[in-house]
Symmetry: D2
Amino acid sequence: MLNDKKDIQNMKDRRNVLINKVGVKNVRYPIIVQDRTVGSQNTVANLDIFVELPHDHRGTHMSRFLEVLNKFHKDNIIENLESFLKEVKNALNADASYIKMNFPYFMKKAAPVSRTESLLSYDCIFEASLREKYELVIGVIVPVTTLCPCSKEISEKGAHNQRSLVTVKLSLREFIWLEEIIEVIERSASCDVFPLLKRVDEKFVTEKAFDNPRFVEDIVREVTVRLQDDKRISWFKVESENMESIHAHNAYACVEKDV
Amino acid sequence: MLNDKKDIQNMKDRRNVLINKVGVKNVRYPIIVQDRTVGSQNTVANLDIFVELPHDHRGTHMSRFLEVLNKFHKDNIIENLESFLKEVKNALNADASYIKMNFPYFMKKAAPVSRTESLLSYDCIFEASLREKYELVIGVIVPVTTLCPCSKEISEKGAHNQRSLVTVKLSLREFIWLEEIIEVIERSASCDVFPLLKRVDEKFVTEKAFDNPRFVEDIVREVTVRLQDDKRISWFKVESENMESIHAHNAYACVEKDV
Amino acid sequence: MLNDKKDIQNMKDRRNVLINKVGVKNVRYPIIVQDRTVGSQNTVANLDIFVELPHDHRGTHMSRFLEVLNKFHKDNIIENLESFLKEVKNALNADASYIKMNFPYFMKKAAPVSRTESLLSYDCIFEASLREKYELVIGVIVPVTTLCPCSKEISEKGAHNQRSLVTVKLSLREFIWLEEIIEVIERSASCDVFPLLKRVDEKFVTEKAFDNPRFVEDIVREVTVRLQDDKRISWFKVESENMESIHAHNAYACVEKDV
Amino acid sequence: MLNDKKDIQNMKDRRNVLINKVGVKNVRYPIIVQDRTVGSQNTVANLDIFVELPHDHRGTHMSRFLEVLNKFHKDNIIENLESFLKEVKNALNADASYIKMNFPYFMKKAAPVSRTESLLSYDCIFEASLREKYELVIGVIVPVTTLCPCSKEISEKGAHNQRSLVTVKLSLREFIWLEEIIEVIERSASCDVFPLLKRVDEKFVTEKAFDNPRFVEDIVREVTVRLQDDKRISWFKVESENMESIHAHNAYACVEKDV
């Protein structure tokens, strides 16, 4: 009988090692997130959910992470992250709980001249923790165009340019829309990227990028200048990575700041 | 005692299903490959090694794949692929044997003006099979620059460009150097890419790409025109994928041909 | 003025090379798919959409792929794949059109003893083409448990086991539910996997796997035996890949058959 | 003429934003590393090399990173990391320089009973920085077998087990061989994994794992207990991730400690 068996997870542990994080990783789950334009959107997330384990407990209870997730996944999970972490803490009898979520978020993007609309996806990151205090880091990875200022200056014609991925993560004092961060990043680039461009639009983005050359260094500085005075933010990290069109490797820059 | 135990792999199978390929996948191994310039080079490969399994055999012997590999890995393995496959066939008592290898191959690349040399890596693919006949497909993935002809034509200034990956696979009648395929691909692009570019070089590659605009369609056609009359080749597939600098998705083209 | 500019994509091409496939790759888009239980479900897909390009056309029109996609993405796209491909053919003036979709599909899975329900995701693949005839390949990747028959036979206690990924692709004569293929695969394994297992369930799956040892060879044979007599199927390929718990590499087997 | 052109990277920057890290990423390069047994081994690395950029400099000089790398790559680079970083600092006129290297490292591994030798690869990580002081973090990812203690306890027969990846990173006061860390990890698992196992070996590893059940929590605690008293180490992080054979997601645990 199962009842005769030892409950090994509940046994005492004598090795005296507190485990900072233990739990489940790469759980794929359909979720609902806030959408500034239409209220909410359906997407699919990768989730890591952890708790802290005291030095004298042998093991955690992995099934309970999923039980709590099942209760929440039909809600707008981003709006309820603190309650989610509270419930994880309770269910696991833990002093701290953690969640990390990655998911694509879709926004309508109108082409710059023809105004033809289409959907562009942005990879988003939410990292929340709850010990006594609830803490939240949000992030987003935005594809943009960068055009090299040096190449433009030294060449008789043209300038090399490429797709770049700009990642911004923020510690929040107050709520900020993902849409706001995306806008800051897109305005800092040589040009934003679009899912659908007609001929008139392609002419526009080519010339706009040529008129706004940006090193990888410029991108992270432009984003920094726009973020560092925002009182809603207590810390940020901005990274830019160019898939250089003239090299097989990437160019990279990063600024990290408490503000 | 082990000797009392059934040798399950050697049992008869009554389900009457021939298994086309069975074996080991994602074996990482240091290998030695031919290098046209210096004779040989050390690199690291991912290997898949399979045999065909007759309908009436329950299982193959996974350890023997590694035993054969151990005998060969200090040789120049590319030069000995047929003997390798013969030994796999014998060791596993099989009617057919297969190997797929992926590995980075390094070539010295001199910057176009300053002639400064540095190493560029190319992902190579070797797929060989032996039933009665030995058959070999070799392939290489080459990063290049492509500059959009339409963007150049319609814009007052500049033109969007990007890193592209061009993949060529060939069925061989006779030996061809990887270096030859790489050269064909690089000559078909707007410009080749380089690990190290000084200011004079960056001016050169920017202007060269601007003077040689190529759609993803042009790349695969240029490569096709250069390959289709080579008597050493019996089949080829050429694919080009642009990491579009103005989109978050890629542009792709492919030509496949018996010749 | 844009009107003075040449429309380069529409120019004649004299290289005389038909392009088998040209289009967009890695377009991420929210889609709606059929769900046998609740009618439909929201998910996120990666899409490749291509057409054939005649030998005398210089280029395709990349923006039109997205325009057609925008018209369809709020429909149940799986039910409308043939109309989608027809519209792509028309919009691009092509002789053939192709789509490849990958997306996670979620199913409720009840734990075997406690019956606690949770969602498990399966990676699905739809590949459709339309020349004169419409052709459809559907596929799914299913995680399962496999337990080694040899290890069980030769050892005094225990047996090594691991997560395996079983991929089945089918050419269809008639409609088949993804749910049916998933069921065939799960019944062919040592045990199916579950998102949430209580103690009673963990006991059950451990013992079930021990009672049903399966080599990677057995998995592909069991699936073959179940599929080869299904009249709705004209071709299939089944692959199984074990993330061996006793090795750093994987074990692999594959059967491919016209039926 | 190039000489008439502005050297944009050398211009003053007025945005007053120090850039923490700027440089090249994903440079693939053949390297030579120390090998305790045979002196040195050839492998292939992915390299990220960065410097700090003062607030008033517009840009760094990307080509110089490669120039320094070219000077060093034929040396045993691990033995010369501090000189490498010194040269990067000088070449770029920077206050701080950074390198991150990932590469596979191969070790001969004898099967436990038959003693048949074969090569197993371990992913290694070196992260070094130089401001006034040189600092070094070394790490390694080791595949092992873990067998679930709970599953063993509650089941009449068998126990689920799986491949796990254990990652250890260390800040060093004094030199430590990669081989020593790998040994600590392998001794902390249910069993180590092998590239090549004969029947007698498979019996041995199956039974050894069954006799040494370990939760993901046990692995990180066992490694912690073995590392925390080593005076050569000032900080460590140990992570264990089980590719659970009974789930599609992973189990994870982590301990991080200053010692």
